[in-house]
Amino acid sequence: MEKYLEKSVPVRKKDLSFWQKLYIPAILQGMKITMTEFFKPSVTIEYPEVRTVMPDSFRGRPILVAENGTERCVACGLCARVCPALAIEVQAGETELGKERYPERFEINMVRCIFCGFCEEVCPEEAIIMSQEYELVFTSQKEALFGKDKLVKPIEEVRTRLDFLRKSR
């Protein structure tokens, strides 16, 4: 036991030299690095002003694909069933369109969503897909309930993700 104790106590071999005590050389050294970096091109993205465009493989918030103004979704409820976080609620309704069913209400609780992409994978209609959007800010629980108004996106905006999904299938 004592042996270990002895070992763990750091022993300062000798005091700092005069120049080290003075600090100024170290400060100058630091300034040098700062000045050289100052004139190099920057690598950080100035976030609020500049926004990264994510690759197509990125799983941002789920959205509903709309074709010719109507969502593709047929409200089968498979996304709601597969969702491990139970974030999705779908209420189906009847429509005159050929698909017969449509989501009367489609809600994703973004507080619950874990961005796993299972909903996208299970969807038989390629109707729900993960977008490139990653900015999610709410100030209340209620705000985090995304309804159809926030979820439905025209197909033109998400074409690249659909292509990626086709390719990687």
């Binding site: 047929v74 409200a75 089968c76 409820g77 498979l78 709601a80 069933r81 139970l86 609620e89 189906a92 309704g93 009847e94 698909k99 017969e100 069913r101 809600e107 609780n109 507080v111 619950r112 038989p124 209609e125 629980q141 985090a144 309930l145």
Partner: protein
């Protein structure tokens, strides 16, 4: 009818020679897949999925048409059978659309289940499927999707054999075969919706339930239909604390596998309705005001104390459970000493048929009478009570779970009452007049028993939660959504009303007025009934079980 011994999958089975292989197997716990065969219908033998290998028969035989015989050796799962089944599934699936995502049957579909179990998992069919009409209103309550039909003929046989009306028939040939009603007819018999239940695919769907919910999101509770004195065994399908559909539950002593359309559609809408009484109310200055339970019950107790025991009358209800009526009868006779107690009849002469529907449109008239909702000696019956109100002898009236103001004579005199308290689940004629309205739970929200016309006691189980209950704590059936709903979820939280079972309200008022009701649960009340009412002697909720028990 001779006893024969057959071997199915190596298991020696003793059965009688009238049995087919599928019946003998089923009775002994061996399931043979089937689409067209139904235990309550004649055998058609047209789906071919029940092919089995019978030793010494050159070809595979269909289990639904082949009778058992002495020494028969049947194999239901050897390679020949598996291959044949795969082939049959492939044929059936050739023209079956991939509609599962938009099909209401998904989740309870025989074809879907068998496709998982017995099909090869991919299609070799590259051509276009045959297209037929997808939205045919085959009857006022049933939708027909011709593409999904696998021509099993169950619906046709149901109409012919059970409903007794020949409304459906196959037309055309080959893969153009479809089902049609006879010219000028629709599928409108009073039992038409049973075809939805027996349809093995989603070809026939319930118009009322269409697209309302996926079945895997619902909870199902065993209960009893309250549409008439038959008391058909049902399952209540609930999502977000709202009833979405009723389906019949098999009970050969009561309703076989069926229920009528009226029971299926019209007996539960009031539970979800907008006009629910959501809490106790007291009339103040001419209008009903929401109050707390304590205030409402104290008001009733205080008012009833002002009257002589011969001035108070009670009206029980054939819509309420045995427990409700029993506690009311005890309250009236023991606590207040009133002999004026009766119930309203809802009998419609000629309103019955040969199959299920009864003329008495209440579920528990037999039970109400047995547990004491009959006038005491020298007491007034319902007509007597009306007369009493008219000539001023009856000044206070306490009624439960029935819209008594519908009684034509009673309606005319009811305003002469000095005090009128009523238990109601929905706003009705009586609540418009009543001085105190006590919010009572509907049949789908309470535990209890009802007695049908055969004197069979059957259990009601709560399917919808009120404020006095918790789904998880009170043992209600739970859907997946119910299990996981959190306060910040919008789902799983349909409206909950501040209503209570009638027996609980009556017992509480009774206790204020000096009664000694010590019931905690409906089961306690029932135990008390079994001790005091001879017909119920020896029964328990456990003995009643899911199929009911006959009274002595």
């Amino acid at each position: 009818m001779a006893n024969v011994k057959v071997t199915i999958n190596g298991k020696l089975i003793e059965t009688d020679s009238t049995r087919t292989i599928i019946q003998a197997a089923r009775e002994n716990g061996i399931s043979i897949p089937h689409f067209c065969w139904h235990e309550k219908l004649s055998t058609a033998g047209n789906c071919r999925i029940c092919l089995v290998d019978v030793e010494k028969m050159p070809k595979l035989a269909i289990a639904c048409m082949t009778n058992v015989a002495e020494g028969m050796v049947v194999n239901t799962k050897n390679e020949r059978v598996v291959n044949a089944r795969e082939a049959v599934m492939e044929f059936i699936l050739i023209n079956h659309p991939l509609d599962c995502p938009i099909c209401d049957e998904a989740g309870e579909c025989k074809l879907q289940d068998y496709a998982y179990k017995f099909s090869q998992g991919y299609s070799r069919f590259g051509d276009d499927k045959v297209h037929k009409n997808k939205r045919v209103e085959i009857g006022p309550r049933v939708m027909f999707d011709a593409e999904r039909c696998i021509s099993c003929s169950r619906c046709i046989r149901f109409c012919d054999e059970i409903a007794g009306v020949h409304q459906l028939q196959f037309v055309n040939r080959g893969d153009h075969t479809t089902i049609e009603t006879f010219p000028g007819e629709t599928l409108d018999n009073p039992y038409s919706m049973n075809v939805v239940d027996i349809c093995p695919v989603g070809a026939l769907t319930n118009k009322d339930f269409r697209f309302k919910s996926r079945v895997w999101e619902m909870s199902f509770t065993e209960s009893i239909c309250n549409g008439c004195a038959r008391g058909c065994n049902i399952e209540i399908g609930v999502r977000n604390n709202g009833i979405l559909r009723l389906t019949p539950r098999t009970n050969d002593d009561v309703n076989s596998n069926w229920m009528c359309d009226h029971g299926r559609l019209d007996t539960w809408k009031h539970v979800n309705a907008e006009d629910r009484i959501t809490g106790p109310m007291v009339r103040k200055g001419g209008i009903l005001v929401d109050v707390g339970w304590d205030e409402a019950m104290a008001k009733v107790a205080g008012e009833l104390k002002l009257f002589n025991k011969n001035e108070i009358a009670f009206i029980g209800s054939a819509f309420a459970s045995n427990e409700d009526n029993y506690v009311l009868a005890r309250f009236a006779k023991e606590v207040l000493g009133s002999k004026h107690i009766d119930r309203m009849s809802h009998r419609i002469d000629g309103g019955d048929d040969a199959l299920l529907i009864r003329a008495d449109k209440t579920p528990n008239d037999t039970g109400a009478a047995l547990v004491g909702i009959v006038p005491g000696e020298g007491g007034r019956d319902i007509e007597g009570i009306v007369q009493g109100i008219r000539d001023g002898h009856i000044k206070a009236l306490y009624a439960i779970d029935d819209d008594i103001a519908q009684h034509p004579e009673l309606e005319k005199v009811i305003t002469k009452l000095e005090f009128f308290a009523v238990h109601a689940s929905n706003a009705n004629k009586s609540t418009r007049i009543a001085d105190v309205v006590l919010a009572s739970s509907t049949y789908a929200e309470r535990s209890g028993t009802i007695t049908n016309f055969q004197k069979r006691v059957q259990r009601l189980r709560p399917a919808v939660v009120t404020l006095e209950r918790e789904r998880a704590l009170d043992g209600l059936t739970m859907s997946r959504l119910d299990k996981f709903a959190a306060p910040n979820d919008s789902w799983g939280k349909g409206p909950r009303r501040d209503s209570r079972a009638s027996w609980r309200i009556v017992a509480a008022i009774g206790n204020i007025m000096g009664g000694k009701f010590k019931y905690m649960t409906a089961e306690d009340v029932f135990t008390d009934i079994t001790h005091t009412v001879d017909a119920f002697k020896g029964l328990t909720y456990l003995k009643i079980g899911s199929k009911g028990a006959l009274l002595q």
